[in-house]
């Protein structure tokens, strides 16, 4: 199908974009890479009065290191992140997760801000944001808000962003040097949304696990930080038994919904399996 009729605006600055959002009073949608919004429009599942296209705002695309964290302009393309040396060094988990995002043509258009603002719980970037406990910056007419994942993701495709706000930046704390990381995912076909994905970061000192970060994709209405499973690793170390216990705990922590591609039971089971695999593979990458 073709999308329903809409007004189209391509502002050159964030302020112009914000003014447009205010003008349309909740009836406008923001267009970033368009990899989710355009299909929704074509299916006529979304019928906004106007699109505010952020692609002509050059200041929204950047990757920079600030005080131990990496900041991404919302319009930074996934393909740029995939090949960024800064990301490879500071956030190797994100580099790996990016390879799971759709297909190459999708990544050349798709953006980090778009993926996170769209809040599809089976997408990779919301899981990484949750695992690393990063922040998003929302700018509105009254100024900026900085939000943590737990305050940002509400439910399927729903966030705390107000209709007159734009997600302008994503901040992810750099992973400590020598940390292990892995993104494990199971999908029906290459490039499909995850049935289950697990983001994992492990910091080991001697035989101890000093930091574990685990989060899900696809296991419920929002990405789930698996804190109780992380605690098992931080308490009991990184032996096979501890990992198995953490994986079993992960399975208990999620309440996935079933759909035509996977039942809730199967998703819960996969959460455990992939948590175990993610931790084990992350361990192989810990610097000795």
């Amino acid at each position: 199908m073709k999308p329903p009729k809409f007004d189209y605006h391509a502002p050159k600055t964030v302020d112009e974009a914000l003014a447009l959002l205010t003008r349309y009073d909740g009836e406008a949608k923001i267009l970033a890479g368009g990899q989710s919004l355009m299909p929704l429009l074509n299916f006529r599942l979304s019928r906004p009065a106007a699109l505010v296209d952020l692609n002509r705002i050059p200041t929204l695309a950047y990757i920079k290191e600030v005080d131990g964290s990496v900041r991404f302009g919302a319009m930074t393309r996934q393909r740029a992140i995939e090949f960024s040396p800064v990301v490879a060094k500071r956030l190797p988990l994100l580099t790996e997760a990016t390879r799971w995002v759709g297909h190459l043509p999708i990544r050349t258009r798709g953006t980090i801000g778009g993926s996170i603002a769209h809040a599809d719980p089976s997408a990779e970037y919301p899981a990484v944001l949750t695992a690393l406990d990063g922040e998003v910056v929302a700018r509105g007419p009254k100024g900026e808000r900085v939000l943590k994942p737990r305050d940002f993701f509400h439910t399927y495709l729903t966030t705390s962003l107000a209709a007159d706000e734009i997600l302008t930046e994503v901040r992810l704390p750099a992973t400590p040097a020598g940390a292990g990381f892995a993104f494990e995912e199971f999908s029906r076909r290459h490039g499909d949304f995850a049935i289950i994905g697990i983001a994992a970061v492990i910091v080991r000192e001697g035989s101890r696990c000093t930091m574990a970060r685990l989060a899900t994709a696809g296991a419920g209405p929002i990405p789930v930080r698996l804190r109780a499973a992380e605690e098992i690793l931080e308490r009991e170390g990184l032996g096979d038994e501890a990992i198995a216990r953490a994986a079993a705990k992960a399975q208990e922590l999620v309440q996935p919904d079933g759909d035509i591609h996977a039942s809730a039971d199967y998703r819960r089971h996969l959460t455990g399996v992939l948590t175990g695999r993610a931790v084990k593979r992350a361990l192989t990458k810990v610097a000795r």
Partner: protein, 459 residues
């Protein structure tokens, strides 16, 4: 009453279901007899000396070497080595399986089979009109400019009729394929057509090509006769070669197709007495083996019968139910192959189509009958990323029934892939006692079977 979708013919019309069952039965038989699945099949194949072979239900298998086709597939897949790999993998706790699937690949349905829907008593009544036949037509003409044009009565959807017909006509007339213009459109007012006309049932490679070649031969005979008349020699003394008619022996003039076209169209007086003016020929090819259903419900439901032998090796991850195709070999005997590249494309497409049915494609409804898979976001089909490496080989047992010895191959592996992958997965999961009895094998379904089998084993 239902609001669920109706069913209809798809590629490999009903054969995918049939071979899924029959090839699954062969494996159960092998298991029961303690024989290798390859051996059970080998022992039960129709030997080449018995072809053409009349089946109990009336089928007439025109040509083939089934044991050799199977052997080629086994050799290509290095079957014995795969079995050794499997042994090692099993010892290491892995689920590695090898599947086989053999299939007769029928093409060109005989209109006679539709009458099997009526009972024999009804068909015995005097007012009943029997049905039979499988025909296709083609016209080849040379216009006054010397352009060679073939006119078909079929509308392909990418099967390459223009390509192969230009090849065939060029071969018959000693021209180059690019010299031939092929019109592949259908209009019942302007085309020669009949009951069975059309592009379906893998027809064109068998019946369509036969009509095209026959039309070209008829036209060639006319060109030869005309040129001999111009040279004032008997037609036996000249031959058609490299797009021109020449004396077989000795020196003399030669006449190209273009030259003959100009003369014949501009000067009808130059034609021999009794020759019809114009340079065109229409051929309607029909199979004599396409007979009506008999009193015992026996019918030769198709006309040419190819053969397929496939081997697939898979590894199944028992924890995620992920199936990984490790090796896939497919050997086809479609008689004379007219265009290897098109044949390869058909096999790739057929195999992926079969993979779709085996792993992905399904019309799903919720409990209220609401359709859930109404777009390609939800109705999954395999993409290039899901395509395994496909190793293809051919054997050629020309059909004695077609002009060029060719048979259809358009549906090909869409029939065998559901069987071969289900057998491979069942073989992989033998240690758990899981046998695939339902398609598509979605990861969720497969995981459930594995879980139930493990629970049963533990209890």
């Amino acid at each position: 009453m239902t609001n669920k979708s109706l069913t209809g013919p798809n590629r490999g019309y009903a054969c995918g279901h049939l071979y899924f069952e029959t090839e699954g039965m062969m494996d159960r038989l092998a298991e029961k007899l303690g024989l290798d699945p390859a051996e059970v099949r080998r022992r039960n194949l129709i030997p080449p000396a018995e072809l053409p072979y009349r089946t109990p239900t009336g089928g007439y298998y025109d040509s083939g070497d089934y044991p050799k086709t199977l052997q080629m597939a086994l050799d290509m897949a290095r079957y014995d080595e795969l079995r050794r790999v499997q042994k090692t993998a099993r010892a290491a706790g892995k689920y590695f399986g090898i599947g086989l699937a053999l299939a007769v690949d029928p093409s060109v349905s005989n209109m006679g089979y539709v009458a099997t829907a009526l009972d024999p008593q009804f068909r015995a009544k005097p007012e009943y009109l029997p049905k039979s036949g499988a025909t296709e037509s083609a016209t080849v003409k040379v216009d006054p400019l010397g352009r060679v044009i073939a006119i078909l009565g079929t509308t392909p959807q990418g099967q390459g009729h223009q390509t192969i017909v230009s090849q065939i006509i060029a071969d018959e007339l000693g021209l180059k394929p690019q010299d031939i213009t092929v019109v592949d459109e259908m209009d019942t007012f302007t085309r020669v057509w009949s009951i069975s006309s059309g592009t379906y049932s893998s027809r064109f490679g068998s019946v369509g090509t036969s009509a095209a070649a026959l039309a070209a031969r008829k036209l060639r005979a006319k060109l030869v006769e005309y040129a001999a008349h111009l040279m004032d020699v008997p037609a036996n003394d000249v031959e058609f070669n490299d797009g021109a008619v020449r004396l077989k022996r000795g020196k003399g003039p030669s006449y190209t197709v273009k030259d003959l076209a100009g003369r014949a169209h501009w000067n009808t007086e130059s034609l021999p007495d009794g020759m019809e003016p114009g340079l065109q020929a229409t051929a309607v090819f029909g199979f004599t083996v396409a007979k009506a259903v008999d009193a015992e419900d026996r019918v030769n439901s198709s006309n040419t019968y190819g053969f397929i032998a496939e081997v697939m090796a898979v590894e199944v991850d028992p924890d995620t139910a992920q199936i990984t195709i490790v090796r896939y070999v497919t050997v086809h005997d479609a008689g004379t192959i007219i265009n290897p590249m098109i044949v390869e494309g058909q096999i790739y497409g057929g195999a992926l189509h079969g993979l779709g049915g085996a792993l992905y494609e399904e019309l799903r409804y919720d409990d209220d009958g609401q359709f859930l898979t109404g777009s390609f976001m939800d109705y999954l089909v395999p993409t290039a990323s899901e395509a395994p490496t496909i190793e293809i080989a051919h054997l050629s047992s020309p059909s004695p029934l077609t002009t060029l010895g060719s048979k259809g191959l358009g549906e090909s592996s869409s029939m065998t892939v559901p069987a071969v992958i289900a057998n491979a997965v069942s073989d992989a999961l033998t240690p758990l006692g899981v046998r695939i009895t339902e398609l598509p094998m979605t990861p969720d379904r497969l995981w459930r079977s594995i879980r139930e089998a493990r629970e049963k084993k533990d209890s």
